[in-house]
Symmetry: C2
Subunit: 266 residues, 2 copies
Amino acid sequence: LGVPPLPDDTPAGDGVRGWLHSVARSHVEVALKHPARLIANALGSPPADVIAQAHEKGMLVAALAGKAEHALSHVERGVDIVVAQGYEAGGHTGEIASMVLVPEIVDAVGDRVPVLAAGGIGSGRQIAAALALGASGVWMGSAWLTTSEYQMGPLQSSVQQALLEATSSDTVRSRIYTGKPARLLKNRWTESWSEAGAPQPLPMPLQNILVAEAHQRLMRAGDPSVVPMPVGQIVGRMNEVRPVADVMASLVAEFDEALSRLDRAR
Amino acid sequence: LGVPPLPDDTPAGDGVRGWLHSVARSHVEVALKHPARLIANALGSPPADVIAQAHEKGMLVAALAGKAEHALSHVERGVDIVVAQGYEAGGHTGEIASMVLVPEIVDAVGDRVPVLAAGGIGSGRQIAAALALGASGVWMGSAWLTTSEYQMGPLQSSVQQALLEATSSDTVRSRIYTGKPARLLKNRWTESWSEAGAPQPLPMPLQNILVAEAHQRLMRAGDPSVVPMPVGQIVGRMNEVRPVADVMASLVAEFDEALSRLDRAR
């Protein structure tokens, strides 16, 4: 892929992410020392003692769910908010798309906790659609990656360029990032794992440890065609860098427009 | 899979479907002799002469699109209605889920032709969501498979039983049905194509010719765990056989409820 090696003074293990129990625990401990209002867990239900500690400090606990049975399990364990995350979402995600998943999860747990819709949401029309499906609100991730406030340091320009150029067809759901299926920008790096003779990804947490150094090299290469970057299918509509305030104003205006249009459909 | 052979008097070639140009042409010729109001094309744009003949007879022509560029191509060729069909749909379908695809196609061609949303729609909430996304209406397929009026003859009971029992996780998008990706019920038949040593599917139209006899055997076996059946992720909500009139009444009532709920969100 033509990606240069790391400088000799790069710390060993730099770039290994938190998909290890020990690392996740240390993140939670830091979070619990801050006056956060919400802790959200992306993979599985948070451990019972974490939920208890968060509640003691007056924090709410959210958890992502890709199936109704996951949502039921979250609520039984004391989670306060369920995020129904569809196939089109970025990062770790399941097989069921938002149009089908959101009503299923609302019907499973919506009488007990608020359900937020995630996956494919980047405009007020999509917020209106999520609420029509029964969600109490939405959870947006990818859309913030192309806001002015999003700071990635010196690596920013190649990542943002890749995001701005990508269409909704330029993502792939793959196990190469962590060992579990996650949606990523599709590019020369992800495609190289589909070539004849490419190895199968290792199970979590080994895969991220395997590719941690490669990720660092790919990020530093300054080449938009190789960045290892989780993002949802909504990336096709992320076509300019805008301040968060502008994005929020658009979301509200588009939501109002969508509701007015629906009124006329009656 | 324990599936019995066909009776000796089965006509050769029975079960080969229309994914051959010659077969599709003969279907169109029959359709054009009837007083139909609409011809819909699922794979690609209809040929120019078919569009012209349909228009001469006062028929409208619809075409399915899984990407905005397909929709643009359809409209340039004279298609009257575009069906934006998301990943969650049954049968041949693309990678982009409805939540992302519908607004993209509405923005690409919605000022020139009506756009209908397809994929994941089986309730009035989902119709409201589709309209919130900008669609002029919806196109439902799977939901009709479990209506009283749907008649498959003697093979019906095992197919309907399989549909009623399936959850939204029990489908798979695979090339084994025709050679192009199509969403099917996931069962012992589809899983056998993922086993070690299983062959790769052939390209269209060869794959359907290859499996035509197997499809006949699987359908006649009377075993719900092997039926080769295209269906969307909405199959998880198809849990009883109902008359079409009841389904329509529910769709209208749920649509009204969803709009009333959205009104209160303002």
